[in-house]
Symmetry: C2
Subunit: 353 residues, 2 copies
């Protein structure tokens, strides 16, 4: 059934019933359904972030399933809260949907939101929705709780620079998607989402080249429905932290700007996953360029004077790798061959020429 | 200069400099510019609301100036916080702008946001922006502080029903705009905004009828850049409260639903402004239908067992009028002629058929 036949009030009732968990949480005094939610935060400080995603700019519905979209919207906001060393707690959603969208789209989108809320322990506490004339538009606000927090501004010369996971996968996943045809897009749209779709064949066509699904899947998943890293074990050691949303180099530059320091990035120390190497090879591209400048990884980039060995050995549940050092002023990248080039902000910039 | 030539980072620096007030507020530990803002709220409870506005659905740029749009976006969110009896404090913005928008549009939009922030004592503490392919899209989240709050659910049989101001003006303003031609729209776009535009002539053309500007202006202003009512003096007496966003009848029905009560609305007691009567006459419409079912007034609708005489005499700085009474079950409207009809949810519904 199309949304305009269901009507706004029925849709709101649907959302309210689905996310009734917020109503039973003791900290939520007024849940969804009033002019505003009223919350009694469990900490003296709150961290607040908001992010938007626009159709045709941040997502393409020919290969993004509605549940992946809902999941990612929550993840990118949760990631910002994690990057402050805070605990994500409350979610507020804004949806601009086409009136002729199918109710199944709406319900699948919320499947993704709900799966992410359960994963992160976040409560949907409010929001707004409306019809739009053309492109879909979604935005979210996540509120977290913290006592101590980690900003971008605390890095000191001599601190080491660390990154979680294997950055570059999301950027490589997007580059692969851009080389695929609409039949492959449709397969991916049904394979990557909250509900398991039909199993993909052994390999998928990326232009004229075949890529094994076992290599493609992690790259596509990282782009289409990334999971935010929890900073709980990192935060106590971090002097500065942010999440990699626009690309490692541009985000490292931001951390340096805010901390008024420099950085030497060891390109050869960037952790590359097998999947990234296979994906980049398939595109005839350098995997390091994805790792250094690809956007939307939502990995944590942080600095610390030192990190316990167990964290570097995987105790956080994900890889953590030292990729350079903070300096007083110098900003450079040491290449694989030992060559030194300036560290400049390279990454995705909106409204860029 | 077009936004894509200015670039996202330059735009963000512009916003950060303009709203540096948040940086010097003691409760804002991390202002704009990090992954998330960190705030130490001054009360043990926070009220949070979020609202979106989409081009072609909520606003029309042929008669809405960018500064009025920015002002209204803040007002509609602040109004929700006021309706909880909370103090609005922190604002977070999401902007989806066309890459070929002019920088002047961007800067005028922020003039409106800034004027509203100063009026309400709200700090811009974070946000996100992006390019969009087609229609503009803006959303905002406002966080307020409160100890006591007023929800929709506290009305008791016997309580009186009150409304602030003179509802219906916004709906009438919108109906007038729909009857005007593009030349008049352009005049209004430059006349209604944060910066005083050229003085309008004595009257404006609404289709084939002339309407005095002194009557048109309050109606158009209420629609294009409404001012949220402060609930500070009302909240201590209110048993239930909401703001009239979708129309008095539909919003009164919501209050009744949440409180599990009925209501008798005295149509003849609805306060009509001179401007509304003149605007409705110009349209050949019944002013009471605007007052009872027009949307986007952002007046406060609340119930109380009684209200001090000084508040009814204007001590809050705006009119407050008793327009009916809460009942156990009965839901009806008493017309001007004494006729009784059922009170049903009539107003603006998104995705409606």
């Amino acid at each position: 059934m199309q949304l305009h036949r269901v009507g706004e009030l029925a849709l709101l009732r649907n959302v309210r019933n689905r996310f009734s968990a917020a109503s039973s949480d003791r900290s939520v005094l007024v849940p969804i359904g009033d002019d505003a939610a009223v919350i009694a935060p469990g900490a003296s400080r709150i961290a607040v972030t908001t992010d938007l995603m626009a159709e045709g700019v941040h997502f393409n519905l020919s290969y993004t399933s509605p549940s992946a979209l809902g999941f990612k919207l929550v993840s990118v906001n949760v990631s910002d809260i994690m990057a402050m060393g805070a605990r994500p707690r409350y979610l507020f959603l804004n949806l601009g949907l086409k009136a002729d969208s199918d109710e199944i789209f709406f319900s699948s989108f919320y499947d993704g939101v709900q799966a992410a809320c359960e994963l992160y322990g976040v409560l949907l506490t409010g929001g707004d929705m409306s019809g739009v004339r053309n492109d879909l538009f979604v935005s979210a606000t996540v509120i977290g709780e913290c006592e101590r927090f980690v900003a971008r501004r605390g890095a000191q010369p001599g601190d080491r620079i660390y990154v979680t996971g294997t950055p570059g996968e999301s950027g490589c996943g997007l580059a692969l998607l851009k080389q695929m045809d609409s039949a492959v897009h449709a397969q991916i749209r049904s394979a990557i989402g909250v509900h398991a779709g039909p199993r993909m064949s052994e390999s998928i066509a990326v232009g004229n080249v075949d890529l094994r699904w076992t290599d493609a899947e992690p790259l596509l998943c990282r782009h289409l429905m990334p999971i935010a890293r929890t900073a709980e074990q990192i935060a106590p050691y971090a002097s500065a932290m942010l999440d990699v949303s626009d690309g490692l180099c541009i985000d490292l530059t931001r951390l340096c700007d805010e901390s008024a320091v420099g950085a030497v990035l060891q390109l050869g120390d960037l952790p590359l996953s097998e999947a990234l190497c296979a994906g980049a090879a398939c595109l005839g591209a350098d995997p390091f360029s994805f790792a250094a400048a690809g956007g939307e990884d939502y990995e944590l980039l942080f600095t610390a004077s030192a990190l316990p060995d167990e964290l570097l050995a995987g105790a956080a549940g994900f890889p953590i790798t030292c990729i350079g050092e903070i300096t007083a002023q110098e900003r450079s990248i040491v290449g694989i061959d030992g060559s030194v080039t300036p560290l400049v902000a390279r990454g995705y910039e909106h409204f860029a020429q």
